[in-house]
Symmetry: C2
Subunit: 270 residues, 2 copies
């Protein structure tokens, strides 16, 4: 990657792009595209870069997400989207787990192959208004009835994201709540779990040193990618806040205004 974005001696062949906060901001009526991002994605494809859209989005199915992004002017396929749901379904089946799905109603379709009777595990996604006291208690009782440790699976560990003009709570805080209540440590499927990034790179057949992750979450996107040997670039869109640049443990390889800016630097046109 040249243009000063990263060490110019580094050959970059693939980009992992976060979706929410990088391509578009979620909100009423499907959200709002981030200016320049559809064109930036198209330019990357034209230039021959391999792409994976790595998201912790768990409020809708992968298919519905691709349809929404297509309406926003992006060109992408379901296969290019890497999200926690398929990995979670595989994990549940392999471990004979019957989950209580505390997830968004619009995401349930991704789990139709999973037995949810007589639950012996809990899956937490970005359930939003499904995070009621009653649902949290159901999850808690399953976890403490399974002995120690109960089986808690969290689709990501994000603290919050931007919804319209406001920050809103993500799945992470509710995972913390259930971990504390039940004395269980969650298995994270999604960013920042190293296995999530590594699987995405494996699909692309690209080693981490040839890949860059671009995201708006300093800890889960940038820190997670760096922990796997990738470069991590922070955009100033989405949930970005200036204090993210003074994060106590994560230092982005580069901070850019937005995805278009990152692509300008990468293609050396700025």
């Amino acid at each position: 990657m040249s243009g000063g974005l990263l060490n110019s001696s580094r050959k970059i062949s693939a980009l992992l792009l976060d979706i929410t906060g990088v391509l578009y901001n979620s909100g009423e009526g499907g959200g709002h595209v981030i200016p320049g991002s559809p064109q930036a994605v198209a330019r990357l494809k034209e230039a021959g870069y391999k792409l994976k859209f790595c998201t912790n989005e768990t409020q809708i199915t992968r298919r519905a997400l691709v349809e929404k992004l297509t309406r926003h002017g992006f060109t992408l396929t379901e296969e290019e989207v890497y999200s926690p749901a398929p990995a979670c379904v595989q994990y549940l089946l392999e471990n004979n787990l019957r989950p209580f799905l505390l997830i968004h109603p619009d995401a349930r379709q991704d789990y139709v192959t999973v037995d949810t009777t007589n639950p012996n595990a809990v899956v937490l996604g970005d359930a939003a208004h499904e995070f009621t006291y009653d649902n949290m208690n159901i999850a808690f009782k399953i976890l403490i009835s399974q002995g120690s440790p109960g089986h808690l699976i969290s689709l990501g560990r994000g603290r919050y994201y931007r919804e319209g003009s406001e920050l809103t709570l993500d799945v992470g805080p509710f995972t913390k709540a259930l971990e504390f209540a039940s004395g269980t440590e969650a298995t994270v499927i999604g960013k920042p779990a190293p296995s999530f990034f590594k699987s995405a790179l494996s699909d692309l057949r690209v080693p981490p040193e040839e890949a860059v992750m671009i995201g708006d979450d300093v800890l889960n996107d940038v820190g997670g990618a760096q922990g796997c040997g990738m470069a991590g670039v922070l955009v100033k869109t989405g949930k970005y806040r200036p204090e993210d640049e003074r994060h106590p443990t994560v230092k982005p390889d580069r901070v850019v205004d937005n995805l278009a800016h990152a692509v300008d630097l990468l293609l050396n046109v700025s």
Copy 2:
């Protein structure tokens, strides 16, 4: 305290008694008295022990709690009940804090002297069904809008308690959720905060080495009291579970069947 309950060379002059899980179990219709507990309290009073009922109960006002316990056959006054609400009100007034009160509706009366307009702080109590996604988001936004650190006050830090035949989530998990989301550490008012136990003892004018705490929460009752130099006795009623006796950091000075058993041992009649 003789009778083998504790080291017999120790002079005991005061008892701090937890309420929920020791005197009665909460549940539908005011809950159920724990057999023998009203008589046990009466015997302690007859024997001249100083008593304080130390509770993290924040679902009702102190007055309503005393009325409920009186209906259950206990003899006690409001002054004998030590609960977080009065200490919290004092803390809010001293620090010029205008809280968003995420507390149980039945406890609001305790906070009528507090200004809640344009909130610059969050108070979390055992809000139960008030722990909605929307209310958690309101609290979160106040905490992150106040700079770092935001002002989060938690009335206790309990993980769960017994409600009828079921365990149900207490305030602690929701405090953890907001701490994680906002990067704020909560100020705890109530057990297991040392200041809470010390204030109760100060009211009684009894040094910690002459006092015993009796509760059903191994961490918040027993551990908290021991941390202040008191003895801590665990009852096998309320939320007690056998694994509490193998707690990694807290070893009760004694485990008893119930409050009546503790009083038998104390009065040396067993």
